[in-house]
Subunit: 344 residues, 2 copies
DNA sequence: GTTAGCACTCTCAGTGATTGAGTGCTAATT
DNA sequence: AATTAGCACTCAATCACTGAGAGTGCTAAC
């Protein structure tokens, strides 16, 4: 179903219907549309058109003789071609810049938390941020720093200024010299590689290097996964869940409970956000398109930000009935701001 | 109000009343107590005693001619002196050991997340963990690792095997030698100090050290705060919020919303957990004692775990109507397990 | 001091009755 | 041929009312 199949009038009516529903959350009747919008049509005519739209599966009635409500498909069409794209109001842009760019260089974690918070606040939805996925990042440098008798800190420099560390447990009898030699070998063989290859076939590259200590290398690669894949709590930041409570679609206890459960799972959300193609622009997923158990009544607007070759994601999540025009422009702008800040 | 003021009978009745209320969440009537518990008293007698207990402020009626419900004060007395302490069932202890101790050494973050999760699951409440507060930790070693032209990674070793890192932005013209000298100076002057003193008067200790580069030292101390105080997201782990939805006291939308909002604030919870005295054992805070906006209907059971001289906190949060006996024994055991794991 | 008995109170679940929003259809109008 | 006015019909939501049930407080008897 695409907008070419719709007459001018049908498009116009679908648009105002969804506009109106978005702002009221109540089923929309033909009379309201006739009176409140400059359609120059009687309610009866609108009723007829609405019947057609319902047959096309774009709107539906919650029950006989109630007004109409958009379906997921209706929203899809609305977002793709009916929406009047509105430029971000300067006032909001200013607020975003102020709250996201004011402080100097801070820890990535911190920035992401703050970003999710600001997104949530400005949209009154749930703000979501995903840490840069370092898989495609290129290793620039590896340091092995002894921090105690039996502990070694691996410091992994990635292009674009990202640094990852992980603590290794080593047997006590590894001496200074061995560590230095191994470090050198690691650097020679792995610098310039992506972290992804490190995970898959990095170990092979060190197979027959005389200098590297075999045990040390093994411990290193055992821990490599922790360098790439961090615990969900640090990868995904969620803020503003309490905003759900003010939305009329979530007054129902069970629906709300389902969404909260989904949010707490985290992993499905991470996967959903990471599954997007690299470099893709802003994506809107509507209702059942959001393939997350329990979040059927939700939509998600997400965009990638870039740190060098690496990408992360920011977005918002909320009921399918959301102000797409506004949310889209905000998410888009935040992604750009974040890229700026991280690159800089 | 203490248990000495209560007659044997009053204690007995208060105990079974609270026991019963905890398991049913319904106001408890005199007949139920007379029939279901071996008190050998008629409902009329129980009614009289209940009236007395109500006058003492230990129980109350939600409305005229309903059964009785415990007040915060009632719970307090119950927890302090009426509870039959039950040893942790071996089955649960086994599960806890399995889920918390099975894997080898992992990142602290990871352990804490997992712990919160397990706590939530086993108690059907909200699981909460607080990262070790390194304030009282002793610095064992400081390393300055150059990771790129303009970036320097500070690696701070703390006794008990905890390592903290923070990224510094430096001007490009700091050379290798300067860094090494500064590092040496930092180590000499700061090793053996607690992180707390580093924050307050650490800078003074470097004031007139010839070797240290003044600019570098300044950047270092500017970032010191980030070493001690990490963003709330990494300090506090919360899991199981969805469990609230199954509790009858939170079927009311507004109450639930209030608690969720409180949970999302994070900072008040961190403060509340950190305000406990060092070395204190397990603490139960009931209802209004939990000084968190919106969490008036909740109780909190928390205990400290230790990593050397440093302490962190684990606990659970839920409605005042919770199985204190069970929860207390679980939290207590988890704190012990965590100490073991972190020390080892 | 304890208990049986009774009058009284208050919630809760169910039942109509009423209202009002909104539709679909038909016939009249342009 | 498209649009509109008019009307019968449907259904959710609200309200007042009712009876049942749970539980109390009090009094009088044990």
């Amino acid at each position: 179903m695409s907008f070419e199949n719709l007459s001018e009038r049908e498009q116009k009516i679908l648009r105002v219907l969804i506009d109106h529903y978005i702002s009221t959350a109540e089923p929309v009747g033909s009379r309201v549309l006739a009176n409140r919008y400059p359609l120059q049509l009687s309610s009866a005519t609108i009723r007829n058109t609405m019947q057609d739209l319902e047959e096309m599966g774009l709107i539906k009635q919650p029950y006989t003789s109630a007004g109409r409500v958009p379906t997921d498909e209706g929203y899809r069409l609305y977002v793709d071609s009916l929406i009047n794209p509105q430029p971000l109001p300067e006032e909001i842009a200013r607020q975003l810049r102020e709250q996201l760019m004011n402080r100097q260089k801070r820890a990535v974690e911190d920035i992401l938390g703050q970003t999710a918070h600001v997104l949530a606040q400005l949209t009154s939805q749930i703000g979501v941020t995903l840490a840069p996925s370092v898989d495609r990042g290129v290793i620039s440098r590896i340091e092995l720093v002894p921090v105690s008798e039996r502990r070694l800190l691996v410091v992994l420099g990635i292009h674009a200024g990202i640094v990852r560390t992980v603590l290794l447990e080593v047997s006590a009898d590894v001496d200074r010299k061995t560590i230095e030699d191994t470090q050198m070998a690691l650097n020679e063989r792995l610098a310039g590689q992506t972290l992804g290859t490190l995970k898959t076939n990095g170990a092979d590259r060190l197979r027959d290097d005389q200098r590297a200590d075999a045990r040390l290398v093994k411990v290193f690669f055992d821990a490599a996964n922790d360098l790439v894949q961090r615990p969900p709590g640090e990868t995904l930041h969620i803020d503003g869940t309490a905003n759900l409570f003010t939305q009329p679609e979530f007054t129902n206890h069970d629906v709300l409970s389902g969404v909260m459960r989904a949010l707490e799972e985290r992993l499905p959300i991470i996967q959903m956000l990471q599954s997007r193609g690299v470099g893709e622009g802003l994506i809107v997923s509507i209702g059942r398109e959001v393939k997350i158990q329990g979040a059927e009544g939700c939509s998600m607007v997400a965009a990638n930000y870039r740190v060098g070759r690496i990408e992360g994601t920011v977005g918002i999540m909320g009921p399918t009935r959301m102000e797409y025009a506004k949310v889209v422009s905000i998410v888009d702008y935040v992604a750009k701001l974040l890229s700026e800040q991280m690159e800089g």
